[in-house]
């Protein structure tokens, strides 16, 4: 069997509804199901291939299109294993203080205790996010939300009952998926029709769904560890099984998990399930309901050592269902049980877009210059406000004695400051020895004789902030005078 890897870069936002679009408040999946890639190839090739070839590629499982999961630096993201548990109050994965416990190692005797009072910790299952092979984790995938409304051509209004909210995967993110071939014959056909710029998901005739698919050599994958007594089966993608009577089941047998002997210990397993009906575009209706085991689920199989077995199990393998991993590294036991031996790290960076401040920095367009200018103005205003705040609420003796000056004096200063051309002119108008507003008259004797230097210090200290600072400072000081 051969496996080829592809990188899928989102050129625009992509909408992948997690349920049928018959109700509002749609949420999007956080991965791209393999059926989408199967669909891309099928759309191009189905009619060109002979019926039996088409069956091989698209229905038999000889070619299986895997789900695309988020990637970070060409490393595959794995859905958070359901066996990971953390302290309910300290469940940020990868921090210095937080610890990750493995469900199958927990028992009555080794339940982690709180350091302070030695009571049992309340543990919480980790469900959201992804883990990468280097230990980095990603809490959530970047998503956007948009409201769309249909227009009624007749009335030029929004159409009644035609307003939708679309949640989408944010553009710029990269996903990795693989295609497995049990028969080499179809590799070229698939690869040729997959690569390039494609469209997928909902509303792809409008603004959503443009992606670029490229082949990549060997992305970083998780390795597995060796184990004597048991095998952990981790669901890398969703799994779907029928029992011996052809009915759907949530309880696969050991054989169905690809292991010839041994016994599943359900108590030590963590299985989450869901049901859905896939959509058939050709028939324009749903297929029959599928009962699935959610990716990230972990089965614990006792009395069994790992042999080389298949890593695809169950139904619908062509669409990416049934990918499993045996004993992946992130479920390794630590030295101190029940802690995990794998080193989890914090947030990986999957943001390809530059942050907005960076964009402004190196932009030379008219818009860039404009935004930069606006940013500078906002910063300047903030600087003025902050300095006023600092001055007025400081406990310095200078300010406290300035607060005794009457509000009408401050009103006068404010009037001069709002009209003055610049700080030099204002300086002259206020502090000129002969004609300055503050240097003569009754008010000088009453207030400014002792305080003039205090105010001059504030004035000089904030010279760079301009007359606006003095005007606003005076206005605030007038209020302070009334308060005290």
């Amino acid at each position: 069997m051969k496996e080829e890897f592809y990188k899928c870069t989102l050129l625009s936002d992509v909408v992948l509804n997690s349920s049928l679009a018959t109700e509002g408040n749609m949420s999007t999946l956080d991965y791209i199901p393999g059926s989408n890639f199967l669909g891309i190839v099928a759309g191009k090739m189905y009619s060109k291939l002979k019926p039996e070839e088409a069956f091989d590629v698209f229905h038999s499982g000889l070619v299986s299109f895997g789900d695309a999961t988020i990637s970070s630096n060409e490393s595959i993201g794995y859905a958070m294993p359901s066996s990971l548990f953390m302290d309910k109050l300290n469940n940020e994965i990868g921090t210095d203080t937080s610890k990750v416990y493995l469900h199958h190692l927990l028992n009555k005797n080794n339940h982690p205790l709180r350091e302070t009072d030695q009571t049992r910790l309340q543990l919480k299952q980790q469900r959201a996010g992804y883990v990468f092979s280097d230990g980095k984790t990603l809490k959530s995938i970047k998503k956007n939300f948009a409201i769309k409304s249909a227009q009624d051509r007749k009335t030029r209004n929004s159409k009644d009952g035609a307003m939708f909210g679309f949640e989408s995967l944010g553009k710029g993110q990269e996903f990795i998926f693989s295609v497995c071939f049990k028969d080499d014959k179809y590799m070229k056909v698939v690869s040729d029709s997959l690569t390039g710029i494609q469209r997928l998901g909902k509303s792809k005739n409008a603004e959503f769904g443009q992606v670029q698919i490229q082949r990549i050599a060997n992305p970083a994958t998780i390795s597995s560890f060796k184990n004597e007594n048991y095998v952990l089966v981790y669901a890398q993608s969703n799994l779907c099984f029928n029992n011996e009577f052809g009915q759907s089941t949530f309880e696969p047998t050991e054989e169905q998990l690809g292991i010839s002997s041994g016994k599943i210990n359900w108590e030590k397993s963590q299985v989450r399930t869901y049901s859905y009906s896939s959509w058939n575009f050709k028939r324009n209706t749903t297929n029959s309901q599928r009962d699935c085991i959610l990716k990230g689920s972990v089965f614990y199989v006792e009395n069994r050592v790992l042999e080389n077995t298949s890593n695809q199990v169950g139904l619908h393998q062509a669409e990416g269902f049934g990918r499993i991993l045996y004993n992946p590294e992130f479920l390794k036991e630590g030295v101190e049980k029940p802690m995990a031996g794998f080193e989890f790290k914090q947030e990986a960076n999957n943001a390809l877009e530059k942050s907005s401040s960076e964009l402004v920095k190196d932009s030379k367009t008219v818009l860039g210059k404009f935004l930069k200018q606006q940013q500078a103005l906002k910063k300047f205003d903030l600087a003025i406000s902050e300095s006023i705040q600092n001055e007025i609420y400081s406990n310095s003796r200078e300010i406290q004695s300035l607060k005794k000056i009457s509000s009408s004096q401050w009103g006068g200063i404010r009037a001069y400051a709002t009209k003055a051309k610049d700080m030099d002119a204002l300086n002259n108008q206020l502090f000129n020895k002969e004609s300055g507003y503050l240097t003569h008259g009754v008010a000088y004797e009453k207030y400014w004789d002792k305080n003039l230097n205090n105010f001059k210090n504030v004035f000089d200290k904030n010279k760079d902030l301009g007359t606006v600072f003095i005007a606003k400072f005076a206005a605030e000081m007038a209020k302070e005078n009334k308060r005290s």
């Binding site: 030029r156 209004n157 008219v366 009103g411 004609s435 008010a443 005007a471 606003k472």
Partner: protein, 456 residues
């Protein structure tokens, strides 16, 4: 099918300052005007549409043309499209999109728009607590360009004509403070064109029509009729006044010569399509409106024999006449209502009003007969150089206003009081400033004449 496209482009000039608020405030000003991306003032299309729609509220075609999402009958979108009004810069260039290389001189002027201080005065003539605020205004004289397009049929040409006429009417005002003297507009240029999309030539011309205001229009300007004086539905009062001596509408602070001086503001004048700034003396409508409102309340109470010493005189918006004529708003008012009285701000050039007279005041110590320490101050006042003022007051004839005899008479008494010299206007009235006498006209007919003492 709507096969006719009516397009009109207006060039309008602010006859009085504009205040189309943006809802924002800055460190220095409590309310800022709406500005475009270049920092120049603008008027949003929604503001224009709102005023226009309101004017045609009683017409049966109103909801069809302006759209009505609420009612089932005409539940359609608008057929009329109004653009935002963009400011005209030098050489008939319009501020559109992000402009590069704007003259720093121009931006400096518009970065620092005139600021108007308002203080709420009680019926006792003193400032109310927390009654001081200021707002930015757009210079009087600034020109704007906007476009109006109607999607319709040939039958709609009457509606189109009345829409164009409305924009030209003297009561078409924009923004807030339209009762305080702001927002009066004058149409100084009008381009009007009708395209019939069934005619190939028209269709092509319409498709190629550029919505940019900086592209010269493929059709010619049409002549403007002289602006019509009072339109139907408005009573027009005119006061021809001359001051007894000096008057002062003060700015609140002084300059290097005096402690207090008259309010002066820069206005824009387009000379040869270039903006020039002139300093002029302002008589703000709000200061006259306040005086008239308080006097109207007095007359209204007097006519109803409600005397203050018996604890009966209703003041402010609680007074029937004031509430009806000047509107009411505020936290305690259950049914807020806009006023029906429109007064413009008045601007006078150096040739009409001089502000060079300085009065020095000193308080005398009653005991020593000498000057009180620190009680010397000086003020500049205005005196009229020309013949007299001509003030226009428009009152909208709503259901209540001017149909009620007491309200009408109280209001007219207040106006007559001004002409009789009994109601001084402006500041420092207790020092003898601001006394005016003259003639009051109602719709062109003389109501009171101070010189002949004739009263009709």
């Amino acid at each position: 099918m709507k096969k006719i496209r009516y397009i009109a482009r207006f060039i309008i000039e602010a006859e009085t300052p504009l205040f189309v608020g943006s809802g924002e405030s800055s460190l220095l000003k409590d309310a800022l005007v709406q500005k475009d991306v270049n920092g120049f003032p603008m008027i949003l299309g929604t503001s224009l549409t709102g005023v226009l729609r309101h004017a045609f509220n009683n017409e049966d075609w109103c909801s069809r043309i302006f759209g009505d999402a609420e009612s089932k009958k005409d539940g359609a979108g608008s057929l009329l499209k109004l653009s935002a009004a963009c400011m005209m810069l030098n050489d008939t260039k319009v501020s559109e999109g992000i402009l590069e290389n704007i003259e720093p001189k121009v931006t400096a002027r518009f970065n620092n728009l005139p600021s108007r201080q308002h203080v709420r005065i009680t019926e006792k003539g003193v400032a109310e607590t927390n009654g001081l605020f200021d707002n930015e205004v757009v210079y009087k004289g600034v020109r704007f360009v906007f476009e109006m397009e109607l999607k319709g049929t040939l039958d709609d040409n009457k509606i189109w004509a009345s829409l164009i006429e409305k924009v030209q009417s003297p009561t078409f005002r924009i923004g807030s403070g339209t009762r305080n003297g702001y927002g009066s507009l004058k149409v100084i240029g009008l381009f009007n064109k009708t395209y019939n999309l069934e005619i190939e030539e028209d269709f092509k011309a319409y498709v190629n029509f550029s919505p940019s205001f900086n592209v010269s229009l493929p059709f010619k300007e049409i002549g403007l009729e002289e602006k019509k004086s009072p339109t139907a539905g408005y009573t027009h009062y005119r006061l021809n006044l001359s001051p007894d001596s000096f008057f002062v509408f003060s700015e609140g602070f002084g300059d290097e010569d005096a402690d207090n001086k008259p309010l002066e503001e820069e206005v824009v004048v387009y000379k040869n399509n270039t903006q020039e700034f002139e300093k002029q003396t302002v008589i703000p409508a709000s200061s006259i409106k306040g005086a008239i409102a308080h006097r109207t309340a007095f007359h209204c109470n007097k006519k109803q024999e409600q005397y203050a010493d018996e604890g009966n005189g209703a003041i402010g918006s609680n007074n029937r006449a004031v509430g009806t004529l000047f509107g009411k708003a505020g936290k305690d008012v259950t049914e807020p209502q806009a006023g029906n009285v429109f007064i413009n701000d008045w601007y006078y050039s150096d040739e009409e009003i001089a502000n060079n007279k300085i009065f020095n005041h000193v308080a005398i110590d009653r005991f020593t007969g000498g000057a009180l320490n620190g009680a010397l101050f000086s003020e500049k006042v205005s005196n009229l150089l020309g013949n007299g003022f001509c003030f226009d007051v428009y009152v909208k004839e709503s259901k209540e206003a001017l149909n009620d005899k007491i309200i009408t008479e109280s209001f007219e008494e207040a106006l007559k009081d001004i002409a009789k010299g009994l109601l001084p206007l402006g500041g420092m009235t207790t020092k003898g400033h601001g006394v005016f006498t003259g003639v009051v006209l109602k719709n062109g007919i003389e109501m009171y004449n101070y010189n002949t003492k004739n009263e009709n």
